[in-house]
Symmetry: C2
Subunit: 344 residues, 2 copies
Amino acid sequence: MSLTPRIAIDAMGGDVGVRVMCAGAAMARHKHDGLRFLLVGDEVRIKAALENHPNLRAATDIIHTDGVVTGEDKPSQALRKAKSTSMGLAIDAVKRGDAGGAVSAGNTGALMAMAKVALRTMPGIDRPALAALLPTLGNNDVVMLDLGANTDCDANNLTQFAVMGAAYARTAMGLERPRVALLNIGTEELKGTDEIRDAAAMLRAAKGLPMDFTGFIEGDKLSRGDVDVIVHDGFSGNIALKTIEGTARFVTDLLRRAFTSSTRSKIGFLISRPATELLRHHLDPNNHNGAVFLGLNGVVLKSHGSADAKGVANCVHLCAELIEKDITRQVTQDLANFRNGDAA
Amino acid sequence: MSLTPRIAIDAMGGDVGVRVMCAGAAMARHKHDGLRFLLVGDEVRIKAALENHPNLRAATDIIHTDGVVTGEDKPSQALRKAKSTSMGLAIDAVKRGDAGGAVSAGNTGALMAMAKVALRTMPGIDRPALAALLPTLGNNDVVMLDLGANTDCDANNLTQFAVMGAAYARTAMGLERPRVALLNIGTEELKGTDEIRDAAAMLRAAKGLPMDFTGFIEGDKLSRGDVDVIVHDGFSGNIALKTIEGTARFVTDLLRRAFTSSTRSKIGFLISRPATELLRHHLDPNNHNGAVFLGLNGVVLKSHGSADAKGVANCVHLCAELIEKDITRQVTQDLANFRNGDAA
């Protein structure tokens, strides 16, 4: 693995496709000129998109394929055609060592399945977890995992998610001892499901981990910045993450309505536009784009299907950072220490 | 049961206690002068609080007790002392027919347990569900249930919640055919847990119900107003509801920061204050206070522990409305029709 990483990009995934993926990669390379790329997909369309980005073209090789994974493909269908699709070949480049990591904006379930089969999970891990960063009122973002499709998780899964999420926060956010909490419906020890209570007991009992387990956290505290890592199964995580998105949109829609409700408030809005732009910037999901699969022997990131070029650039940047900081080795090591109980 | 209902109020529950409960009841009675009350709790403190509210005092009887349920009491502890507590005696008044319904701002788990034991569940119902109204961008609020502590629900429970939630929307919101959806992590039929998929199949197969089952809804659509009733287990519901609360606060906190970030934006804020007041009004949880237990043989409402007098008044109003519209009969009948499969 090179220290100026090469990143494989599934150029055909996402709602908007090859032009946005190329524009995002070009934007990322403007900020980090050591980056090199493998663009995977329809060569003709990729070359056409590269014409606007000579800086990117000079650092890019293309792997041609006609095959794509669609949003409707089930993971099993996607697996059968893996080697002929842009998503499958991007992951394959990571497996072969031709790329340090892969980025795709395609079907999340297919990406998880293909990455799991091609790269395999780390020792002792049944299920990779999908981790994303959320903005908070504090100084740091918060890591939320799992956001994948692991709807039923046992206490072992949740505990592993906690260890992997902490490793991610240490690597990507430079925190020495991330504060880790389990999402629950109350903060008392008796609250919640057996799985969550058992996971809490295991995390409380674990000694010497490079993290501080702070217990349970409720849904109204997710964005407070009181903790660095929030652990949950994929079902609760999906509900929480999408509810955050929906509510942020709900409040900003109400705000827009309120500001256009009278001439007076329109004038107030115009004067305070820098303030509302600041709010918009803070809430723009493109500024937090890029979810990473943890527990795999390789770096694979999911870019949001509707991300714009800036969002793709952020995801590519995060991918480069995780490669450079060797997240895979870090997570592997923390899991081994946790398993062996000699984390100290 | 009288048509000008008498409402039993646990005067000792909630974070702020007897003065707020009395002020709320008095406010409710100013708008609806047929209302009568049974205030349950410490007679000395209740009488002192009533001194400011002669209009309420004239329509109130007091049941004295020293006993209270605390926020720390487990449901089993609360049950053992039920008959000596303000919460237990308020519910008991409903059971005896001395009151048409009860309102408490105390410990939710204890309230659920006591109400279940005293009033019993309707035929075929294992678990009462706690239903609350949430604001949306549409013309109507949306009913969300279960928000109680039913963490593990099977397909039968979820299906009953759907029927009861629809009966509630018909009764409280006057909708002929409420649109009902199940909260899930995707809208495709294959998404989610077995319990959710099975419940969806049962609701699709049920014919002649006075509601339209619209399938699955995701967390980002809760506040859109596209449906009237959203069904979930108590765990997901708690996560969703608290995440809505937390995110709304997060966005308004960001907004406050943005508006105070410069003199210019402060001026803009002052000019557009009517707009931001409108937003604040819409998001104020006191305007949507009052969660109802469905599936019990009697009307019991939970007022938010931190509700102010306006919030308590809204909860009391809702209680009166549900008594007047005979919600208990409506829910019983819809459940019987659903069970017998002859809902047409």
